[in-house]
């Protein structure tokens, strides 16, 4: 096939600089999406009329639209909208100087929250209602019952799916390059454009993502075992 191995090695090293960016997007998105998804799930489990309806619509919308479009729309709209708000508040801050990774944080948080809402809803429903009744009978408040008994058990059940969501986040964050964020994909593509070595660049990207995702799977496997020691 005649691959330019020298180029591959060089680009691989450069693309590694994108790994922190990818990880940053992943971790910030998870940090926001995990609690957000959890509360969205609660509104549906407890049949809250208004917030439950909101959750259903929200999840439906996010899951029903292609991620690439969500990225493009947020990147096109959000800066202008924020600019309007800042201007009318009399601020002289230039929104267009904002690090585009901020928009990546927004898009991927909102997207992952919708996915995790369903993950948590199904996981919480696997926990026997008797657990909550026993907790109440023992004098625990609903908050403590959830925190100490229900959520730990739901979390173990949710682990495989949270792993899924995390891996999808790592891979999906490659779309951040559309927002000029210098992640793994962006760096490799830029390098490739110089000498048209696209195949080598794509193989490099493949390799890096593979290593990242494999590590994540190992991590979650360990987590699932540790949290599920009681099973």
């Amino acid at each position: 096939m005649g691959l330019n191995l020298e180029f591959m090695k060089h680009t691989f090293m450069l693309a590694l600089f994108g790994v922190p960016v990818t990880l940053k997007i992943t971790m910030v998105a998870l940090a926001i999406a995990l609690p957000m998804g959890f509360f969205l799930a609660l509104t549906k489990i407890y049949n809250r009329k208004i917030s439950g309806a909101f959750s259903t619509l929200y999840v439906s919308f996010v899951r029903g639209t292609p991620m690439v479009l969500q990225v493009l729309i947020i990147y096109s709209l959000l800066p202008s909208v924020l600019n309007q708000i800042l201007k009318s508040a009399g601020s002289s801050v230039n929104i267009f100087d904002l690090d585009p990774i901020m928009y990546a944080y927004v898009v991927f948080s909102l997207n992952t929250a919708a996915i995790l809402a369903e993950v948590f809803r199904s996981a919480l429903q696997t926990v026997n209602t008797g657990q909550l009744e026993a907790a109440h009978s023992a004098g625990l408040s609903t908050f403590h019952a959830f925190k100490r008994i229900l959520v730990p058990q739901a979390l173990v059940v949710a682990m495989p799916n949270i792993c899924n969501a995390t891996i999808n986040l790592i891979k999906g964050s490659s779309l951040a390059f559309l927002m000029t964020v210098k992640d793994i994909t962006a760096i490799a593509k830029i390098e490739a454009a110089y000498g048209y070595n696209y195949i080598e660049a794509y193989l490099d990207i493949f390799l890096i993502y593979l290593i990242l995702c494999a590590s994540i799977q190992l991590l979650f496997g360990w987590l699932e075992k540790k949290l599920g020691v009681y099973r």
């Binding site: 009744e133 026993a134 023992a138 100490r148 730990p152």
Partner: protein, 250 residues
């Protein structure tokens, strides 16, 4: 000590409790018998608010509440005075046997951990699980799990323990162990309200037997009265089916 009056409860359109009065005095062992669907479990669950009754009042010592309008604090106060033993044990699956018992003490009643630990160990010893403190429920047999459930109930030193068919999910050989523990508790003066199908327990241990059918109390009295001299036809029919070879005189 605890009294409920005129309890009504319907699920969807189906009325399950149609005006039930129950009185429990200190030291009583009350057994509630009846066919399935009679409302006996629902009545028990209404007493510690696992079900919210549609109507009725409860007087617990000096506490007086309306069952359908009880505040969170009133419910919490009443739950502090009661303990519940479930038909399918309902142990906290992610906690060890010891942690199952300390949970209600430390979190539910804010007892310091060291003291709670001692109380919990004593309770587990009492039900014969001195060597199973650190076992998770998944590693315990049904009988052992129910014993943890009972330990969990006695550890909090409640004024009354509510038992919802505590042996119905157990193998026949294990039923005797659990009934034995309950017998010991009764002898020691523990106030108990037990929903069960175990007639031997009702006959030998209870001091008050209540027969329920279709959401109402049909008849109540001492075990002698109910088992040997039932006054209601429905009671007789029920007893005949459960204990087919007994004879009754009215």
């Amino acid at each position: 000590m605890v009294r409920v009056n005129d309890v009504h409860k319907a699920f969807q359109k189906k009325e399950v409790l149609k005006g039930v009065d129950l009185e429990v005095n200190k030291g009583d062992v009350v057994v509630i018998l009846g066919p399935s669907g009679s409302g006996k479990t629902t009545l028990l669950r209404c007493m510690n608010f696992l079900e919210k009754a549609d109507q009725g009042t409860m007087v617990f010592d000096t506490l007086s509440v309306e069952l359908n309008k009880a505040s969170k604090k009133e419910i919490a106060d009443i739950r502090k005075k009661t303990a519940f033993v479930f038909q399918n044990y309902n142990l906290f699956n992610n906690k060890t046997a010891l942690e199952n018992v300390t949970e209600g003490l430390v979190i539910g009643r804010k007892i310091p951990a060291a003291k709670a630990d001692k109380i919990a160990k004593d309770a587990l010893d009492k039900v014969g699980l001195f060597d199973k403190y650190d076992y998770y429920p998944s590693k315990l047999s049904g009988g052992q799990q129910q014993r943890v459930g009972i330990a969990r109930a006695i550890a909090v030193n409640p004024e009354v323990i509510l038992f919802d068919e505590p042996t119905s999910a157990l193998d026949p050989e294990l039923i005797g162990d659990i009934l034995g523990i309950m017998r010991t508790l009764a002898k020691e003066g523990t106030t108990m309200v037990v929903v069960t199908h175990e007639m031997s327990f009702a006959r030998d241990v209870a001091n008050k037997v209540i027969f329920m059918d279709e959401g109402k109390i049909v008849e109540q009295g001492s075990p002698k009265q109910i088992f040997l001299r039932p006054t209601e036809e429905r009671t007789r029919q029920f007893l005949k089916r459960i204990i087919p070879d007994s004879e009754y005189t009215i």
